[in-house]
Symmetry: C2
Subunit: 471 residues, 2 copies
């Protein structure tokens, strides 16, 4: 083993890295395909959808009753009822039926006195078009239903079919190949836990990234795991880029160590645009251009991998198919303790959030980029900008929520020493009091006392009152 | 055709109808199945997930460099460097490697002077566990990873795999059969638009409901369309309930007309629990219990069908698999004009929403429950409670947003006469200025002038300044 090292040549702030990506790939929108409307949920229109059929496509009864020419009813009153003859001057209709020719109104069944099979009586007139859904009331043929760029949801599928549009042109889902690399990795389905030896790690990043791709409308394939070997990684990336894939993510080896091959692979096949972003976690991210296709080197630490994906890969995947950016929910939070942060890098700080006396209180989770549980336990992420050295208790930074606000508000916050019985209790609560969560922060006894002093956790007798959820 | 009519026997307020549903079906949680974690995105844990493996499962180098027993480095300084012998007193490691036996710290590569193949020099000591990720730093085997009821997202999949949990017990996705009924219906894939005759309607509700089921984690099948015929509908429902389905939705015929068969079907096979809910649209909804399984009669008007689904079917589907309720976004809105509403029924009023001078202004869309476009054009829904007769311009009701707030804020609001060129412009804007929308309300010239007077639309020269979106 040698001590040879590459260097980060192109470390960039987040905004600059994004701009470089966008400038380079602004034309890489995916191709257009024509698909059935019934298969188009979630897809984005690549051309405007114009109605081909009016809806309704005829004048339709809006009530159950008798269709008539309104003129026939004029003058009818209690004193002078009018008689109508079924199938001659009046026609039984149910809601939705086409008005028979010559009719233009519907008398509600409740207002009709049936005399016998051949005559009925009415005691009030109807006006023309009363209780009628006129042709085109909902949709007029030739009308623009949706402009290009519109994302098709369940409602839109109904409008398209009703408007006689059965196929639509949409952007293809981007296809992405995820290549996990690292000689230390083992595959979960080939692993017996008893036989793992020190140094082996279960490969999990490709599963996480595939799921995140799905969340962003893309179709991800996983390449079989590769050892840290320049040649095999180069071959795999080369084939993927020459093939059907719109994007490639190499996981692992994106840093500047002696066995980090993502950069040399990228440099040999194409061009490295960014190596290193001033953010934590996720600094050793690599962005390149191979034959005009985006190729990313994703750091191997799980939190770094996710941050790199969410900052760059996900937004680019959405852009490629014209999906609107994810609408995150942000809320101001108070801090349980002040937070220090390094100048010169944006930090994505994972926090637990509890609702205490109507305020949202955030407490910091461990910062390690290798700890996936700092993300799964987090209720939110505070992004501390690179020109900020820290946040004091008197500030109220904004947190991106990772859980619905109602879930945070329905959480019982417990701060103090770790006690395994709290884990058992958390699970029991889910069984017996569905929708109520327990969140315990393990900060030690002193930390718990400090939290009470700072009003960052409810003191004795004032725990939050979680709300019951419906159904 | 006869004038025979059924009656609504059991019209209930929304809350009561929900309570009846919940009381009856609170035990109908779906069965549990064991699946691979890699296939578990979005699913809900039916039993707690306990880590089987620590992560890391060994003491791991957190930096590239040399692993040593920290004691060996004590006393090293500029003046008195210490010499280490590779493979004897120090061991080259890369980030992530297991520490060799007997070592407990890592010296960063940057702090090592290489003398030759057999000796290196250091000028500062390291302390025990410096630059080491200790075994269990992220996950300790036996620890509770997630309690039952936890929904598995991408992050959680990573934590589960890292913790040696490769399969999980989750609730099955509910299976639902959707049966479109109505003699007036035609299937889109069997329809030639030229050959449609008055009275025929393209069946679209089953597609909309299937998509909504998917949004709620359920798997929906569509039964071939059925005519309004008591016997065939009865047979279809009977078979579905006796088969694998957890729920059945009959679309159409849920009202009390002479050809409305959903209620008689339900009454003959089981029990009708609710017929009619005091809401608009969606009043003629039908809820029944056949052999302990929920069966719904869904009104055939498209907006009624969607409201009935969203108020009752969707929440029950989520409950059955322990999925948390949808977290809707609500925002206070000002009204462009006062709104009247009938006492005695909750109304779901579709509104367009524009951001004018920093306020959200809502204007009412047509109320017809047959017009699906009132939903596709809506930016939000205001629920007017049944004990409220209307809302004045001075009130600020709360609207459930149907679109991301950013999309509403990036929309250019145009109020006035309808002009087809606005439709063309809306489409061009999407092509040339991605992320910016045009929304035109067609209320006539006078309506436009009134909107300006009420500050409900920007006057000349003060149109909103939509923001550009990233990437």
């Amino acid at each position: 083993m040698t001590s040879k090292r590459n260097v980060y040549l192109d470390t960039q702030p987040i905004e600059t890295a994004r701009q470089i990506l966008m400038d380079r790939f602004k034309d890489r929108v995916t191709d257009v395909e024509t698909i059935d409307v019934t298969a188009a949920q979630g897809r984005v229109l690549a051309s405007p959808a114009i109605a081909k059929l009016s809806s309704p496509n005829f004048h339709a009864a809006a009530m159950d009753g008798m269709a008539v020419d309104a003129k026939q009813t004029f003058g009818a009153s209690d004193d002078a009822p009018k008689v109508l003859v079924p199938d001659e001057t009046g026609f039984w209709v149910n809601t939705g039926h086409a008005l028979p020719p010559g009719t233009n109104a519907v008398i509600m069944i409740e207002h009709i006195n049936i005399i016998d099979e051949t005559s009925v009586e009415i005691e009030a007139p109807v006006f023309p078009w009363q209780h009628v859904r006129k042709m085109g009331e909902d949709i007029v043929a030739t009308k623009l239903l949706f402009p290009r760029g519109h994302q098709i949801n369940a409602y839109a599928m109904g409008a398209l079919l009703s408007g006689g549009v059965f196929q639509v042109k949409v952007y293809k889902k981007p296809r992405i190949l995820i290549i996990p690399t690292g000689s230390e990795l083992v595959q979960w389905h080939e692993t017996s836990l008893d036989q793992m030896v020190p140094g082996q790690v279960i490969e999990s990043n490709s599963t996480v990234l595939k799921a995140l791709c799905r969340d962003n409308g893309a179709v991800a394939d996983r390449h079989p795991m590769l050892k840290d070997d320049l040649e095999t990684i180069t071959t795999a990336v080369d084939q993927a880029v020459k093939g059907e894939y719109d994007m490639v993510c190499i996981i692992g080896g994106s840093s500047a160590g002696s066995e980090d091959f993502a950069r040399p692979v990228m440099a040999s096949l194409g061009r490295v645009m960014v190596h290193g972003v001033t953010m934590m976690p996720g600094k050793p991210v690599l962005m390149g251009d191979i034959s005009g296709k985006p190729v990313f080197g994703i750091p191997g630490y799980p939190v770094s991998a996710i941050v790199a994906f969410e900052q760059f890969v996900g937004p680019l995947l959405r852009f490629m198919q014209k999906l609107a950016p994810v609408e995150d929910r942000f809320e101001p939070v108070a801090l349980a303790r002040k937070i220090a942060s390094k100048l010169g890098q944006d930090e994505f700080l994972r926090v637990k959030i509890g609702s205490v006396d109507g305020r949202l209180i955030a407490s910091q989770l461990p910062r390690g980029s290798g700890s996936i549980t700092t993300l799964t336990e987090a209720d939110g992420i505070i992004q501390i900008p690179k020109d900020v050295e820290g946040i004091s208790e008197t500030e109220t930074p904004t947190a991106r929520l990772l859980k619905p606000l109602s879930a945070i508000e329905n959480t019982l916050v417990i701060t103090g020493s770790h006690d395994n019985t709290l884990d058992l209790l958390a699970d029991q609560m889910r069984r017996d009091h569905d929708g109520i969560n327990i969140s315990s922060s393990h900060v030690g006894s002193m930390g718990g006392l400090m939290a009470i002093r700072n009003n960052a956790t409810p003191g004795r007798g004032s725990i939050s009152r979680p709300r019951r959820r419906f159904l």
